[in-house]
Symmetry: C2
Subunit: 336 residues, 2 copies
Amino acid sequence: MSDHSPGLPDVVAAARRLRGRVRHTALERSLALGERAGAEVLLKLECQQRTGSFKLRGALNALALQPAAHRGRPVVTASAGNHGLGVAVAARELGIGAVVFVPAEGSATKRERIRRTGAEVRPIPGGYDAAHREAEAFAARTGAVYVHAYSDPAVVAGQGTVGWEMLVQRPDLRVLLVPVGGGGLIGGVGIAARMLAPGARVIGVQSTATRAMHASLAAGRVVSPPEEPTLCDGLAGDIDATSLALAQQVVDDLVLVPETAIGPAVRFLLQNEGILAEPSAAVVAALLLEGSHHFGAGPIGAVISGGNVDASTLKGILATNGPGPTSPGAEAPTTR
Amino acid sequence: MSDHSPGLPDVVAAARRLRGRVRHTALERSLALGERAGAEVLLKLECQQRTGSFKLRGALNALALQPAAHRGRPVVTASAGNHGLGVAVAARELGIGAVVFVPAEGSATKRERIRRTGAEVRPIPGGYDAAHREAEAFAARTGAVYVHAYSDPAVVAGQGTVGWEMLVQRPDLRVLLVPVGGGGLIGGVGIAARMLAPGARVIGVQSTATRAMHASLAAGRVVSPPEEPTLCDGLAGDIDATSLALAQQVVDDLVLVPETAIGPAVRFLLQNEGILAEPSAAVVAALLLEGSHHFGAGPIGAVISGGNVDASTLKGILATNGPGPTSPGAEAPTTR
């Protein structure tokens, strides 16, 4: 794929390319969120995607589209999160070597999960930025192919298959709610929606602590809000000019939900729907639960983009008081 | 369906009947469990089934097979758990009224989840047994159809579609590991396996605190071990002569894992595979992690039968020390 912005044909080609390699995840009605929103709410369950997030789609599409001259070269990226795992699994399945640079300070379990795919894991001290620099230097030195997490057009087209599937499953969706980090997912979903459902609104959601895209759309240029503590590790970090330009074209609104609403939204989905969403995905539920936005008649399609949440993080979320869990010991002994 | 024991044709007919109504869930390789078991391990992800467990299969099959004379009658059951939810959702989709008796002491959130499907929920004080008696009395009084959780032959055939799908997905499975409560799931899976893969071993797993089937197989008759506290609410309770007779025919081994191994197994799956299994489902992982059984070359197919775990229960599991979670705060801030 060339460097120009991808279009619907690229998304459709990606959907064909990914068939049998990714799950056609369910678009499932949430009665509990529907009651709160006063409209039909349908959840796109990418938390049930292979690797636990949508990131596999973009990674597979990008690796499958490498030009012939690059065939056989290893792929490299920096991420101990969903993108790193997506790239590692995609490389394994396409028979390509993978090197994943991860922050040495990060979770050993996450590293191990990537290592098990057969990828080489290189822990780098100094946080994500240092790992990212080392990965780029490695690519320049060795000719390995660097897969960018959100602005590679093949990655965007791959993520767009989420929106393509949703609109095939329910062509009548009036609103699409999409978690926004770097902007790859909403860019791809927006491309699909603009063409397939021109009347539908594409609404991005971020937490107040991960508002790079929100701030950049407001400023009309890439800005980097200061880092803040957040549960939404998958939405944190900067964006770039490519993803901003795409968002300016295909995103209708971008809404912030309070960081404090994220934990309760994770609990709500777990308790009322039996769905484990990672905090970065729960932003869309937080928006519906907050009730400050009225979305009209719906139906509303909301992307639950992933389900990978660290056990220690989840423990913290469940330990917090708030709506959701009922008291322990209140269960009947036998509920078979 | 008549009262005689179901066979493979009943399971195949159920699979056809359920097509498009239940998810053909993934059978996904677990590299982490495979490392521990020294064999290929494939997880049947019924935790990703609609309603969060396999119970929908049996409920839908049973309701679809009601004789014409019963059409239009409401369906009744007693359970605030996966069976209750499965029956409620099945009734909704088939346009049948449903009345679900639940222990008044149980979780309000679970009751609410059933109520949202449109079912009538009747809370009964006095625990599960009282709810069960009331449900049977209601059925006798009103002509409503009582759907038994595990020994109705149509329910067994419906649950058997789990095994049918597994052996279609991977006909080379040598071992099937199945959580055992009342015995409906392993009965159905065993029927499928006996015919489709006669060389494969069907191995049931229970926790030491939920060993009614284990004790009954050992005694050669139905026995009721005293109730013990357990995380495995879906496996607790008694069995009956019907499910025992079927297990005697189709189950090779039945293995107990220590109740103390259940929490760590839930944590292991969450942390290493990003899978939220309910404790009743995690028994199969606990057995593989325990390492006391060597299963030969595999491949091993293990049924992760559900993913509905109460937030308060999960909180307790994650709060316990042991293998699994890494320390909080050890995460890199940005892992996109």
